[in-house]
């Protein structure tokens, strides 16, 4: 019974942290309302984002889009960047080879928007081990403007996105603007779990770190910065062998005294047809990354998973009335919390301002019932990074070091043999 009380105590602590995360998300999202301040309910979009009240001239922006393969909803994701209500910007799609299936989609996009300044760069670059950075380097070289926006291919935005994020650049002390993310489009179990996790744990953690700990936690789905600031932190070459290039760029930017801003404009991360395996693989990789970046702080993620902590006594010790009831109660609270968070995130100001396009398929309330199952899966995944420090990324295996620095898997020694044996067994089983 003592064990149960220990876990119950940790769970209650986790619930309090979770409550703070909800508060942080709410507070981040409310900032638009503060901007709107005295405006009445019929505020125009420009008023919502406070565009008209400043002398800010929207500077031209180079949007860099590194592409690799087909993401869910790729055509619409890319098209949403061509429909920006913004005076001057260019889009640079960057690929590593012509055989990439995304190349065909990009060509169609270019044909559909002939009036837009769109370039397609196909260039193999093997400067580093991070394929996204390798993809970005040629696009960066070709970019025309001082402001650059790096955006992932699975991101879909509304037409005020550029205005909403460039406004932060009015402040010359701002070095980097990143965005809140909301997962949308779940049509399979894997993608529903992914979106639930993005809209609860990821959104909560990012806002919590930003609000309460003032820690830059940049997620590379959307990063706006100035070239001169990027050059001060040694440009992309500094992160060419790093797995978490986004986090490291944010940290370095913070290190040189520049502000790293989390914009409350939520960008849509479209996940439609993910399998459960892909969900598990991604979060195992992200877990390994956070373990190598955060070290002992990684423990807080386990403590901050109340459903998993409340379920452990049931799963590992005694499934008695009290342990089961407690686990169910915590799960119920988590379902309520996640539903509330989901509602907050889907109902952000950029959505309420009538922006288009917004993906019609968000979450059905019934999906939130899967939230405790997702938390239990994530709880078990938490242990994997402690046992393994390697990741398979785009078909190659790497060892992750401190600050997520990648090094290639050695060809000889006991580690290489370990994975060769594992791969041979997997191949036999397949």
């Amino acid at each position: 019974m003592e064990i149960f009380y220990v876990f119950a105590g940790i769970t209650i602590f986790g619930l309090i942290c979770y409550g703070l995360q909800i508060w942080a998300v709410r507070s981040t999202l409310k900032e638009d309302k503060k901007v709107r301040g005295s405006e009445d309910g019929n505020a125009s979009t420009s008023q919502l984002f406070n565009f008209s009240s400043s002398q800010f001239q929207f500077p031209p922006v180079s949007i860099l889009k590194p592409l690799k393969g087909l993401d869910d909803n790729l055509f619409d994701n890319l098209a949403s960047f061509c429909a920006q209500d913004y005076p001057e910007y260019e889009i640079i799609f960057s690929l590593q080879d012509h055989n990439d299936p995304a190349f065909k989609v990009v060509r169609k996009i270019r044909d559909k928007y002939p009036e837009k300044d769109i370039s397609v760069i196909v260039e193999r670059c093997d400067l580093g081990l991070n394929p996204k950075v390798n993809n970005l380097i040629p696009a960066y070289k070709a970019s025309k403007y001082e402001l650059i926006l790096i955006s992932d291919s699975n991101v879909m935005v509304g037409n005020n996105y550029l205005k909403a994020i460039t406004k932060h650049m009015q402040d010359p002390d701002v070095g980097l603007v990143s965005n809140m993310i909301r997962g949308i489009g779940g049509r399979t179990i894997g993608s529903i779990l992914e979106n639930l996790h993005l809209n609860s744990f990821i959104a909560g953690s990012v806002c919590f770190l930003d609000k309460f700990l003032k820690m830059p936690c940049v997620i590379g789905k959307s990063m706006l910065m100035r070239k001169r600031d990027l050059e001060v932190i040694s440009g992309f070459k500094a992160v060419k062998d790093v797995l978490a290039e986004d986090y490291v760029i944010g940290k370095r930017m913070h290190g040189i005294g520049k502000k790293v801003v989390l914009s409350n404009y939520a960008v849509n991360n479209v996940n439609e047809y993910w399998g459960i395996r892909r969900f598990i693989n991604r979060h195992t990789r992200w877990g390994k990354l956070r373990w190598r970046l955060g070290g002992i702080k990684y423990l807080s993620e386990l403590i901050g998973n109340p459903v998993f902590m409340a379920s452990l006594p049931v799963l590992l010790w005694e499934p008695s009335k009290i342990t089961i009831s407690f686990a169910l109660l915590v799960s119920f609270l988590k379902v309520l919390g996640d539903s509330y968070l989901g509602t907050l995130i889907y109902d952000t100001e950029n959505r309420r301002s009538g922006e288009s396009p917004i993906h019609p398929f968000t979450h059905s309330p019934i999906h939130y019932l899967l939230s405790p199952i997702k938390d239990i899966i994530i709880g078990f995944i938490w242990f994997v990074p402690i046992l393994s420090n390697t990741v398979v990324w785009r078909g190659s295996r790497y060892i992750i070091g401190r600050n997520s620095v990648l090094s290639p898997m050695p060809e000889s020694n006991i580690w290489a043999w370990r994975y060769r044996v594992a791969d041979a067994i997997k191949a036999r089983l397949a």
Partner: protein
């Protein structure tokens, strides 16, 4: 001219596919395809297997054929305006029997009028020819997966080859190299039933993006290539 990326063998919830028609069109459109054909099953109801297919609504029937074609045409207009993707209505006439040697599946692409699967082969082919459709013998050889073997047309190719415009040389992950040995016109298709089947063999055509040119290109077997579409 850029080669057209095509898939001519796609099932939706109108038969045994797991994805609704509109979503299938979006899935292909978002992936940059140029030409697709929706080819839901029309199953013969003259034996217990066919009766089961009809019972569980896994077949397009004479009753819902017009609605099926109307919806495909509606989606075709949407696909053209949004993705510049050509969507051609079709069916897969599925003559199912217990043994693969007796079974045959035939794609009828650019169909206008309903063709019952209970007719004999000659009648089906003549009806299809009258409508100026493209006739494709699908998965005509041995497959690794149980239940998709349809060997009748291949085993009787001397008799039926004159009616058939093209043979499926590759279906999903399988390749039937015997077709190239016989020098028959060919296409490759995904036999799409689930979203993961998007990644499979596909046809590339060097022709204009309209139904007439596509049919002609395949029939003449010039400017046709296949590609393994992978992410």
């Amino acid at each position: 001219m850029v080669m057209l990326l095509c898939d001519f063998h796609i099932h939706t919830k109108y038969s045994d596919g797991s994805v609704e028609l509109g979503r299938v069109v979006d899935l292909y459109g978002q992936a940059g395809f140029d030409v697709i054909s929706i080819t839901d099953h029309v199953v013969n109801g003259d034996n217990p297997i066919g009766k089961l297919a009809h019972r569980f609504r896994l077949s397009v029937t004479a009753e819902n054929f017009d609605e099926y074609i109307a919806n495909v045409k509606y989606e075709a207009e949407r696909a053209w305006s949004k993705y510049e993707m050509l969507v051609v209505p079709g069916v897969e006439i599925s003559k199912n029997y217990i043994t693969p040697e007796k079974s045959a599946h035939i794609l009828i692409i650019d169909i206008k009028e309903f063709i019952p699967a209970c007719l004999n082969y000659e009648k089906i082919f003549l009806e299809a020819k009258q409508q100026d459709t493209l006739i494709v013998a699908c998965h005509p050889h041995y497959l690794s997966e149980f239940g998709r073997d349809t060997l009748f047309l291949w085993n009787n190719r001397d008799k039926y080859a004159k009616y058939i415009d093209a043979w499926e040389i590759a279906n999903r992950d399988d390749v039937f190299n015997v077709i190239s040995l016989k020098k028959y016109p060919y296409i490759a298709s995904s036999d799409f039933h689930r979203t993961r089947h998007l990644y499979s063999w596909k046809t590339l055509l060097n022709c204009e993006k309209n139904t007439g040119s596509v049919k002609q290109c395949i029939r003449h077997n010039k400017g046709v290539a296949i590609t393994l579409f992978r992410n």
